[in-house]
């Protein structure tokens, strides 16, 4: 910013000081963010998708750190050093722009943004399919490699509970969700009444449940554990209570669980409408 004006002898070298403080803080903070904060950043490692999303979140936080620090250091320095004490009003130097700095700023921010967009797009469609955990409609592009052998599970939202159908097991409908570990799962999300959103937090899965719409996500659970299922789209009175706990089971455990469900609900399954990716309930009527 000195291009338009030669600094007076008494003027300290503000730019060098600011860059120095910023560089020092960056060197301290970036490792802290990666190694101390990083492991705690959601959504964890319960599935292939969530591991990948976790990694993206760590990368974004690491990238954001120097940028936030740069702005904070600059503003902090300016408001401490460039202050005018007392009541007197003194005009500053009439610098009204600097094309070189503006161009540099534009180039750097553009480069960062382009980099972010390319990185996000690659990750969205990568083989590990980080973006596969986000609802992608009936014809997904982001697919895992071995999608053909995926286990299909349907999630049905209605006010205010979730039910789950397993078309590979006679279309049985269960009240709890269980998934086998280390297997690709294709989750088809739909709704019978209003918009809901199926959020399996630890698995890195979120997909809106829209009536008349088939919303597909892929997930590959990698840890045997339970996970929270919540509704992430306002769906009426008991939206906040539309929770359940899902489980990731070992493959043999899943086999015996689903066999037991099939047997237990056999009579109910016969009464259900045939398995379909969308259901059209009778036209909506209002709550009385």
């Amino acid at each position: 910013m000195e291009a338009t004006r030669i600094p007076e002898p008494s003027e300290p070298r503000h730019a060098i000081r600011i860059v120095g403080i910023w560089a020092g803080l960056t060197v301290i903070c970036v490792p802290l963010v990666i190694f101390v904060l990083g492991p705690h950043i959601p959504p964890g490692h319960a599935s292939q998708q969530s591991s990948d999303q976790h990694q993206i979140n760590v990368v974004l936080t690491t990238l954001a750190t120097p940028i936030v620090l740069m702005v904070w250091v600059y503003f902090g320095y300016a408001i401490t050093v460039f202050r005018q004490a007392g009541e007197t009003i003194v005009d500053g130097p009439p610098i009204d722009g600097n094309a070189r700095i503006q161009l540099t700023w534009l180039s750097v921010t553009s480069a960062i943004v382009l980099g972010l967009a390319v990185y996000g797009t690659i990750d969205l469609f990568s083989a590990s399919a980080a973006g596969a955990g986000g609802g992608q409609g009936p014809n997904p592009l982001a697919k895992p490699a071995n999608v053909g052998s995926a286990l299909e599970v349907q999630v049905i939202g209605q006010q205010w509970l979730w039910t789950f159908r397993y078309p590979g097991y006679g279309g049985v409908e269960t009240a709890t969700l269980a998934l086998p570990v280390n297997r690709e799962i294709a989750i088809h999300v739909t709704s019978l009444d209003v918009a809901h959103s199926f959020w399996a937090y630890e698995l890195g899965v979120k997909a809106d449940a829209i009536p008349g719409s088939d919303n597909v996500v892929y997930v590959k659970p990698e840890q045997i554990r339970s996970f929270q299922v919540r509704c992430a789209e306002l769906c009426g009175l008991w939206h906040g209570h539309m929770n359940t706990t899902g489980r990731v089971l070992s493959q043999p455990d899943f086999g015996s669980w689903i066999a037991q469900q099939e047997q237990q609900y056999a009579a109910v399954t016969k009464q259900l409408p045939p398995y379909s990716h969308v259901y059209y309930p009778s036209p909506l009527r209002r709550a009385p």
Partner: protein
């Protein structure tokens, strides 16, 4: 301009303003008659709607009187406008009365309670109305935070809770969209460009009275059973919702009309009424901020109107715009709503940019650094804001293959917003900063908006958004940009320009107490909510995971303190404007901008002579800078009906 009173007076001093007696004022068209007209219109519409509705309900087995509600509210609007006197002029014209540009000017307090076409009066009416509804919206937030002090108990019935959530969101969105355009825009645009009025004075008054009515109609949703959809009004939940939804539809539509008209008015004013010498690159940056905002308002609000009309039809006569089983699609609402909704977000950001960039040079005592880049940044934001709306639908399954495009455009917006930061940083370089209350709020704007902007990058990145979408993370993000950004800028604007509008100084000590309380507790309220969201708490819930209880209680306490900081503002307004009045003088901040060269408060005719502009208003530090304007131009007649 033609006047109704024959030969216009030669000078403002000759202008004798009428001040009718109280009796005549009470009988004339005013807010009281507006209320009477509104009530009568509602009764008539409701009666008519019930007649029609009974017939239709018998055939369609619906069980609500939506037709009665909607007709009632629409006729209430007409009655309100009749009572206020908005139809007098068109009817008079039809009867052959002469054309006038404005209503008859009056003095005295009564003009604040009736249709007045003085832009300064309208601005102060706007200011009071918006502040009132802002406090109502804030009170709703206090109730919401009260409910969230427990992870599962329901202090408030879930239906009422969701109504509070919806009222808070809708009220704040509505009132903050009008919050800068209305009060500061209407007051300052003519003063800053050297004009005596807005381009369409009656339209200006209309937008105000529609805004006031919209606020009260929205509140009337409480009496109609509330609405459980939040401010987004997603179908088909909106088709299913109780009668309060009708109030939401009408009030949002009125605000939509009002916003589009305010925008048109500001654009027309800036295009046509600039003083000689006010060329485009001397236009104050605040005016640029409002012009870009106005472009967004004019283009986005009609889409909202269309969407609301469809919802109204779905609810009343069972059209199936948004019902899948009837051949419609909920995605239609999502698309239309967010096509309005995302520009709306920038309707809430750009005026803030304008305010802080206008205030920084004054207290930094330096020219605005990179004026042209700042203007292009604002236009960049405005343009891009129309290309990002589907990022609200990243996990909805709509056009999933377009997600990279929306991710890219969303991230692109950080380039023009980054420019705004660059401009501020350049302006502060080697400045002589004075820490007045407006300056503190302006600096806090950048602190908050940085956090809001950086958190937006997580939301724009699709894989990362899988976690943050629909969670408290989003909620914290947009509160950082709207409250931390726009509301902080609005506060800066209030402390900065209220002395001009009222003629009285605001108390500096109370202002600083207000600032520090608001700044500290704003951050203590909303920063933890990023963590709450990342740990899996969805928005708009009454119950949440018990492990998040501690953080939520902390947030609630901070939120109550944040609410209390608003009482300090209120106390300051009462203290400084009513109890201990202290004259502000014409230019207490030693600004070079045009509005500060006028007396405080500004006289009815603004400029005795239309000024000739010599320079941009940012010539700080230039010893040989010419005065910003010459006030020695030719005298222009000032008349009651046609003051130009």
């Amino acid at each position: 301009m033609s006047t109704s009173a024959g030969v216009p007076p030669a000078t403002p001093q000759d202008l004798e303003l009428e001040q009718p007696s109280t009796g005549r004022q009470l009988l004339g068209f005013n807010i009281l008659w507006g209320i009477v007209g509104g009530a009568a219109g509602y009764a008539l519409g409701h009666w008519l709607g019930t007649r029609i509705g009974n017939h239709i309900h018998a055939q369609m087995a619906t069980d609500q009187d939506d037709i009665a509600n909607l007709l009632g509210l629409l006729l209430a609007t007409v009655g309100w406008l009749i009572g206020l006197g908005f139809f007098n002029y068109p009817v008079g014209r039809m009867l052959g009365r002469p054309a006038t540009l404005r209503e008859r000017e009056e003095h005295g307090p009564w003009r604040y309670f009736r249709l007045c076409t003085d832009h300064k009066v309208v601005a102060i009416q706007y200011f009071v109305a918006v502040l009132f509804f802002f406090f109502v919206g804030g009170l709703n937030a206090m109730f919401i935070r009260g409910e969230l002090t427990s992870s599962n108990a329901t202090f408030i019935q879930p239906g009422n809770y969701l109504t509070l959530v919806g009222l808070h969101g809708t009220m704040m969105l509505m009132m903050m969209s009008a919050g800068v355009l209305g009060p500061l825009g209407n007051y300052l645009v003519p003063l800053m460009i050297g004009a005596r009025r807005m381009a369409f004075p009656r339209v200006e008054a209309l937008t105000l009275w529609l805004t006031v009515l919209a606020g009260f109609i929205l509140l009337s949703a409480i009496l109609m059973g509330g609405f459980a959809t939040g401010w987004t009004g997603y179908a088909p939940l909106a088709d299913q919702a109780r009668g309060g939804m009708d109030a939401y539809i009408v009030s949002f539509a009125l605000i939509g009309i009002s916003l589009a008209l305010v925008g048109l008015n500001i654009i027309a004013t800036v295009m046509t009424l600039r003083a000689p010498g006010m060329v485009w690159n001397r236009l104050p940056i605040f005016v640029w901020g409002l012009v870009t905002t106005s472009i967004l308002a004019v283009l986005a609000a009609p889409v909202l109107l269309a969407a609301l009309f469809m919802t109204a039809l779905d609810r009343t006569v069972d059209t199936s715009f948004f019902v899948s089983s009837g051949g419609g699609s909920p995605f239609l609402w999502d698309n239309l709503f967010w096509f309005f909704g995302h520009p709306e977000v920038y309707i809430l950001a750009l005026p803030g940019f304008g305010i802080v960039l206008e205030i920084l040079p004054v207290f930094a005592r330096k020219p605005l650094w990179g004026y042209r880049v700042a203007v292009s940044g604002m236009f960049g934001v405005a343009l891009l804001s129309f290309m990002v709306w589907q990022h609200h639908l990243f996990v909805s399954g709509i056009n999933a293959n377009l997600r990279p495009f929306y991710m890219f455009t969303t991230e692109l917006i950080s380039i023009p917003t980054g420019i705004i930061f660059l401009i501020a940083m350049g302006t502060l370089w080697r400045a002589r900063i004075r820490y007045t209350v407006p300056m503190l709020f302006s600096l806090a704007f950048f602190f908050n908006f940085l956090i809001g902007g950086v958190s937006g990058v997580y939301l724009s990145d699709v894989p990362s958004d899988v976690t943050t979408h629909g969670s408290f993370f989003v909620m914290a993000h947009f509160h950082y940009t709207i409250m931390g950004g726009l509301v902080f800028a609005l506060m800066a604007g209030i402390y900065y320009w209220l002395p001009k509008m009222t003629g009285f100084k605001l108390n500096e000590t109370l202002g600083k107490v207000h600032f520090w309380m608001m700044f500290v507790f704003f951050n203590l309220t909303f920063f933890p909510l990023f963590i709450v969201g990342l740990r899996g708490m969805p928005r708009r819930v009454t119950a949440y995971d018990p492990s998040l209880h501690g953080l939520n209680v902390f947030v609630s306490i901070s939120a109550f303190c944040l609410g209390a900081s608003m009482l300090v503002l209120l106390a300051n307004l009462v203290w400084s404007l009513i109890l201990k009045r202290e004259q502000a003088g014409a230019n207490p901040w030693h600004s070079k901008s045009l509005e500060w060269q006028l007396p405080s408060p500004v006289p009815v005719y603004n400029f005795e002579r239309i000024p000739v502009i010599n320079a941009a208003p940012y010539g700080y530090g230039l010893p040989d800078a010419p005065p910003v304007a010459d006030f020695v131009g030719p005298r222009v007649p000032v008349g009651e009906g046609g003051t130009t």
